[in-house]
Each structure stands twice: as structure tokens, then as C-alpha cells.
């Protein structure tokens, strides 16, 4: 799709994307827009498995998929992109194979690194959207700084147990991740957190819907809102959240 410079869809694309071309907000124009977009997905675990799969399927032109880890057996209750045959393979390698096989039109760019301050800013070069599929707050803070510095929207997602949360941060329009989670003592990595697999599917899917909305130029549905999914009681709740004028990251006295 991204290679199609004629500005119209091929016959094959018209069939592949038929079910979404019929959606008024998408149509041919929206599909071409998706095909020209680049999304960086950080983390190819439970959340990233689902969002990268849906975005590749939807015809997003380029996916930069970032993860430093290899596939382990206890990933497989929720990380649907990887299978038993992929054990010990880098997640980027396993994911690239599946995504290319699903949609050869999607340009998949695997990057096997751990995102940190010193590499994150370059990684996001040319991206229209950042999708957070990480498993710890320290990396999310790095993504927030990249989002603010490069003015790229960030879609946060997280899961734990039966539950999950999601929110969207648009630099210059909404608060940032640090407005919502200002505490400094949240840096410990959440290794071995318990999780019901489908909770990752719910939140990864919500992030995918939000990503498609944003790429189409629609208003982000989770801007200034925190969506909380509670799988045990099967409830969704949303909380209205606000930009913190005193935020050291996005407020007037920002550190950046």
C-alpha cells in the first residue's frame, strides 16, 4: 500500500480491505491515508501481539515494531503473535514473520532493542503515532518524553490480572502520561504480573481502534479519558482526566 504512489487502490486492495472500505469514515481516501502511515509499536507481548496484528491487517503502511526480548513459554497464554515453535526466538523476528505473512503490503521494520533515553528519540523518527505495549512504567516514561519532544500522539495501554487500562495523550492538546502518573516511585519493572490472556486482547484491540481513528484524522476517543476494563465484573469505566498545569513534563515549566 505504501508503495502505491498512484493515489488509488489496486484491485487486490479493494478486495482485501472491502469490509472496511464500506465504512463511511474510511473509504478509499481513508484507506490510502492508513497506507501512508507509520506507527511505532513498543513491546511485542500481549498488547503488541494484538495491536500489530490488527494494524497490519488494516493496511497501515509501515509498522516499526520494537522489542528486546525472546519468546518464552509463559508468554503464550496471551502473546498471540508467537507460538510454541517460536520459543527462544527474538519476538521481533517471530512477529515480523507473522505480520508479513498476514499482509505483505505492510512494511514491517523490526528493531530489537530495549527502548531507553539514548535510543528512543531516533527510533521514533518519521512516526505518526506511538503505541505503548510495554510492561513497565519506566519505558512508558521514555515513550512520553519522545511523544512530547517529537509531538507524536501516544496511546497508552496496560493490563494486570482481569483488568486493563488505556488512554491517549496528544502533545499540545491533552495532558501527558506524567500528568496522569506523576509519582516518581513507579519505576520498578512489573515482571511476572498475573494476567488473563484476553485482557490483553481487549486492551490491545481498544488501542488498535484508537490508532485507526487517529490515523484517519478522527478525534482521539481516549483523549483526556482513562478507560478502565474490569474483566471480573465485566465492566468498563471511564474517568475524565486533565492536563496538569504544574506538570514538569508538558506544563509551562517543562523540563524538556
Amino acid at each position: 500500500m505504501s508503495r502505491n504512489e498512484r493515489g488509488s487502490l489496486t484491485g487486490e486492495q479493494e478486495i482485501r480491505y472491502r469490509r472496511q472500505l464500506a465504512i463511511p469514515e474510511i473509504g478509499e481516501k481513508g484507506q490510502i491515508r492508513l497506507g501512508r502511515a507509520t506507527v511505532m509499536i513498543v513491546g511485542l507481548g500481549g498488547l503488541g501481539s494484538v495491536s500489530s496484528f490488527y494494524l497490519a491487517a488494516a493496511g497501515v503502511g509501515s509498522l516499526r515494531i520494537v522489542d528486546h526480548d525472546t519468546v518464552s513459554l509463559d508468554n503464550l497464554n496471551r502473546q498471540l503473535l508467537h507460538s510454541t515453535a517460536d520459543l527462544d526466538r527474538p519476538k521481533t523476528e517471530s512477529a515480523t514473520e507473522k505480520l508479513r505473512s498476514l499482509n505483505p503490503e505492510c512494511s514491517v521494520e523490526p528493531v530489537r532493542v530495549r527502548v531507553a533515553e539514548d535510543n528512543g528519540f531516533n527510533l521514533a523518527e518519521g512516526c505518526d503515532l506511538l503505541l505503548d505495549a510495554t510492561d513497565n512504567l519506566a519505558t512508558r516514561r521514555v515513550l512520553n518524553r519522545i511523544s512530547l519532544a517529537r509531538r507524536i500522539p501516544l496511546i497508552y495501554g496496560g493490563i494486570n490480572g482481569w483488568n486493563g487500562s488505556a488512554a491517549t495523550f496528544v502533545p499540545g492538546e491533552t495532558g501527558c502520561l506524567s500528568c496522569l502518573f506523576p509519582s516518581r516511585d513507579l519505576g520498578a519493572p512489573a515482571t511476572g504480573f498475573p494476567v488473563v490472556g484476553p485482557a490483553a486482547g481487549v486492551i490491545g484491540s481498544i488501542q488498535s481502534v484508537e490508532a485507526i481513528r487517529i490515523l484517519l484524522g478522527m478525534k482521539p476517543a481516549l483523549a483526556n479519558r482513562l478507560l478502565k476494563f474490569q474483566g471480573k465484573s465485566m465492566k468498563f469505566r471511564t474517568i475524565h482526566v486533565e492536563k496538569d498545569p504544574a506538570c514538569p513534563h508538558c506544563g509551562p515549566s517543562r523540563e524538556e
Binding site: G157, G158, G161, N163, F181, L226, I239
Partner: protein, 70 residues
């Protein structure tokens, strides 16, 4: 406990001390979490306001714990 009032916490009616601060109530309901999100009567409350924000009769308080696994 001196005089008490009734407020709604995550949909449940609770009896709490009059003039209790959010900081006190978070501790009281054992909801302490550095990433806790608090909404009072539909308004988002910044963490730095927990110690100065007080509840009144019939207030609606929502406590949300965000998730950070992936």
C-alpha cells in the same frame, strides 16, 4: 469517629468522618497506590490535592488503579 457523613465510593455507600481528606480516605479504604487515579463528583483530582481536598455529604468518589503490565 466523631460526626460522620455518607459518601459513595466506587458505587458503594460508605460512612466516613466529616471533613475527611482524600488522603485520609485513600488510606482508610486501603487503596494506597502511587498511580491511583481519583475522581470526585466527576472531577479529576490531582495527586497533589489529596491532602487538601475534603469530602462532603453525598459526594461520589471513584478510585481507579491503572494497569502497567503488557
Amino acid at each position: 469517629m466523631g460526626r460522620t457523613i455518607h459518601i459513595t465510593v466506587n458505587g458503594m455507600t460508605e460512612e466516613v468522618p466529616e471533613n475527611a481528606t482524600l488522603e485520609f480516605l485513600i488510606e482508610h479504604f486501603r487503596e494506597a497506590d502511587p498511580a491511583l487515579i481519583v475522581e470526585l463528583n466527576g472531577r479529576y483530582i490531582y495527586a497533589r490535592e489529596y491532602s487538601t481536598t475534603r469530602v462532603a455529604e453525598n459526594d461520589r468518589m471513584e478510585l481507579i488503579h491503572p494497569d502497567f503490565g503488557g
